[in-house]
């Protein structure tokens, strides 16, 4: 009996876990309600691209997944409205050597990711 309970608990928990994993792509971002289903897909694709770039090229200093480095902003929503972001990226090339190299598409992907990602409160 105990064995059956253990197995069923394990099974159901993997199922729940699995469901969470598949849903995470959708729930990871806060996309405004008025955006059409089609465009939601595009937004999510863009965010995913931005996330990959961010992890490789930005996250080392601007920690949002990890600790980052002291004194370098960890982007919060309020810091990242797009105008502000454009300004930040324009700031001294020696501080933002990576951003300076990126194409406008890549920067756009990263900013979209930062703006739309959900932050745990």
């Amino acid at each position: 009996m105990k064995l059956i309970i253990t197995i069923s608990v394990l099974l159901s928990s993997t199922a729940v876990f699995h469901q969470c994993a598949t849903q995470s792509k959708v729930t990871e971002y806060e996309i405004p309600g008025h955006v059409t289903k089609e465009n939601r897909e595009l937004f999510i694709q863009k965010c995913e691209k931005g996330k990959v770039l961010y992890k490789i090229h930005c996250g080392g200093c601007h920690g949002i997944f990890t600790k980052g480095k002291d004194g370098i902003p960890n982007f919060t929503k309020t810091q990242i409205d797009s105008y502000h972001a454009a300004a930040l990226i324009g700031i001294d090339p020696r501080n933002h050597a990576v951003a300076k190299k990126m194409s406008s598409d890549q920067i756009d992907q990263i900013i979209t990711f930062l703006r739309l990602r959900k932050i745990d409160k």
Binding site: K49, V52, S82, G90, I91, D92, M102, S103, D105, Q106
Partner: protein
């Protein structure tokens, strides 16, 4: 005894520190005083306008004199204002009543509408037959309000360190080379050189106070010596801007000063917090270095790749694709069909290219791709922010190459050479793991961008000891003065990008439908993208470089010769040619250019032909597994 010594050292330190603070204030107080003086002048002007009768010629003259005084005081501040807060500056001395900003920020947000105000517009409105006192006053009020911005702590506090100074100085030097001698914001051309003289000597005071206040980061003696010589030179030149030697002014003085200032920026580890420096490079030592500013990222999705060998492979694929009609719906058109590499990457044989159906023609000329990397907005209406976007657009446009991403990728990947290469490249673009149209267009732009980095005899004359002929130099001086070319085609790219080189400008000049000037060309231009009346029939200003090789001219390719183009401008644009053009951004008055002047102008334009080394087309295109595709021709069929 020891205590005494410590106290003595401490007090000495405090003394030094306070002295230092006191000295620093000297530079800042010059800023504050100059602001106050200008403010007083503004108030005086306001009172004069209020008390005057605008229909009285005498009163109007009095106001104009007052505006002149205002401008002199403004020029003493220009050095700071333009750099610290350019948007507020436009309200103090903007050239246009309404401007649609197309700065780099537009890469992230739509255009902004900005209402101009201040002295230039007030002066221009006095020239009109019916002047409304309230509207003139409101222009001045706008300017009074805008000036308050510069007293804000957030702006004035930048003067506490040396950083802003060298960056503001860079902008100042670039503006001297591009707009301060051309009449860009000075409606009365008689005032251009006198105002310039005033400005140069005001900045001399700024320099001297800066050196006192920031003695650890001084302008060197070498710099100041060149600057004093510059003042001497300008004072010895004729006050008539058409006789002024613009060429020597830039070559012998501004370019050396620019070089020294860039050295200071590096030596003093100057850091920016301003969007004004977004495009400019720090390790470039001539205004005529093609790396002066950045506007396009030519590598696209491959931007973060640095392996030279891999980049060379990408470029090789880019070249093949450029010539490959596989990118079009019918496998008969390639990029090279309209941007012929043998014809300076344009098509000199047609006013506007064929449509996809090979029957009708498109409405716009295919511009040269050479130097397109120096535009912030791409296509003649500025529809795209990136070259890659332009390429995608043309490939998928039913009237142009008429392909789709899916179809195109299927065909491209059916060629083993492309497939192996792009699968490899995609491994280096983690955000786009599968080969996409983005990879294809990025390889293409990376290939053709190389042709934008060649120099012309004019650049060589500015950078080195190369001698220009008399006619060429005279032509340049005309370009910068009487012919009014330089007010839109800015040094050094001679395109619509002016310091700090962060946006592309659009102009309405009234281009006709055909060379008989029967009617205006109906193309709405920028209006298609930004539907506001100020943008109706507006087009992005193109470069003058290589134009000897890139006929036909204008957005619709209406003119076959440069003489026809000069004739349009000489007549005062479309309006001067009696066409109905709303909001023409060009004066409708004739330029009164003589035959000889026109010849000199053409001679100068000749000196902008770049010594480009072109390549031969690929001998063959990659073989496809689809036999039908292997019939395609290098460069396409039409």
């Amino acid at each position: 005894m020891k205590i005494f010594l410590v106290i003595l050292i401490l007090s000495a330190a405090v003394f030094c520190l306070s002295f230092n603070l006191l000295e620093k204030k000297e530079y800042q107080s010059l800023y504050a005083t100059s602001l106050t003086e200008f403010k007083q002048e503004q108030n005086q002007l306001r009172i004069t306008i209020e008390q005057s009768n605008l229909s009285d010629e005498k009163d109007r003259e009095k106001i104009k004199q007052q505006i002149r005084n205002n401008r002199i005081k403004l020029k003493a501040l220009d050095f700071w204002l333009r750099y610290l807060e350019p948007i507020a500056y436009k309200k103090i001395n903007g050239p246009l009543p309404v401007e649609w900003e197309t700065e780099t920020f537009e890469k992230y947000e739509p255009p902004y509408r900005r209402q101009g105000g201040g002295l230039t517009l007030a002066e221009l409105s006095l020239e009109e037959k019916t002047v409304n006192k309230d509207s003139v006053l409101s222009l001045i009020d706008t300017s009074v309000l805008a000036l308050q911005t510069f007293e804000a702590d957030s702006i004035a506090s930048q003067l506490e360190t040396h950083h802003h100074f060298f960056l503001a100085n860079r902008l100042y030097l670039l503006n001297l080379a591009t707009i301060y001698t051309t009449g860009f914001e000075c409606p009365d051309t008689n005032d251009i050189i006198p105002e310039l003289r005033n400005m140069l000597s005001s900045v001399k005071n700024i320099y001297s106070d800066f050196n006192t206040s920031f003695s650890s980061f001084p302008l060197s003696k070498e710099y100041l010596d060149v600057y004093y010589k510059l003042i001497k030179f300008v004072n010895s030149q004729p006050a008539d801007f058409t006789l002024f030697d613009h060429f020597s002014f830039i070559k012998d003085f501004l370019n050396p000063l620019f070089r020294l200032n860039q050295q200071f920026i590096n030596k003093y580890d100057v850091r920016t917090i301003s969007q004004m420096d977004i495009s400019l490079e720090n390790d470039v030592y001539s205004i005529f270095d093609k790396k002066l500013y950045n506007s396009q990222n030519t590598k696209g999705v491959f931007s973060l790749i640095e392996d030279e060998k891999l980049l060379a492979e990408i470029k090789k694929m880019g070249k093949l694709l450029f010539y490959d009609p596989i990118l079009s719906g019918n496998n008969k058109r390639s990029c090279a069909s309209c941007h012929k590499p043998t014809e300076y990457f344009t098509d000199t044989t047609m006013a506007t290219p064929f449509q996809f159906d090979q029957q009708q023609h498109l409405s716009r000329n295919a511009p040269s791709l050479i130097n397109s990397v120096f535009n912030h907005l791409v296509m003649q209406d500025g529809k795209h922010i990136a070259l890659q976007g332009q390429a995608k657009d043309v490939i998928q446009n039913p009237k142009e190459m008429n392909s789709t991403e899916k179809e195109l990728l299927k065909k491209v990947m059916s060629c083993k050479e492309y497939k192996d290469a792009f699968r490899k490249f995609a491994r280096y673009t983690p955000e786009e793991k599968n080969v996409s149209l983005t990879h294809i267009v990025s390889a293409i732009t990376f290939y053709y961008a190389d042709f934008s980095y060649y120099y012309s005899p004019f650049d060589n004359a500015m950078n080195n000891a190369f001698h220009l002929s008399d006619a060429e130099r005279k032509g340049f001086n005309l370009f910068m003065s009487k012919a009014q070319c330089g007010t839109c085609h800015f040094v050094p790219q001679f395109n619509g990008v002016k310091p700090p080189y962060t946006g592309s400008e659009f102009e309405i000049i009234g281009v006709p439908e055909d060379s008989s000037y029967k009617r205006l060309n109906p193309d709405k231009g920028r209006y298609e993208i930004n539907s506001v009346k100020e943008m109706m029939n507006a087009f992005r200003t193109g470069t003058v470089r290589n134009v000897m090789h890139t006929k036909p001219y204008m957005h619709n390719g209406v003119f076959q010769t440069l003489d026809q183009v000069i004739d349009l401008y000489d007549a005062g644009g479309g309006v001067g040619k009696k066409l109905m053009v709303d909001n023409q951004t060009l004066s409708a008055d004739s330029l009164h250019l003589s035959k000889e002047e026109k010849n000199n102008l053409v001679a100068f334009i000749h000196s902008l032909n770049e010594n480009i080394i072109f390549e031969v087309p690929p001998a063959a295109l990659p073989v496809s597994s689809d036999k039908n595709l292997n019939k395609r021709k290098v460069g396409g069929e039409y």
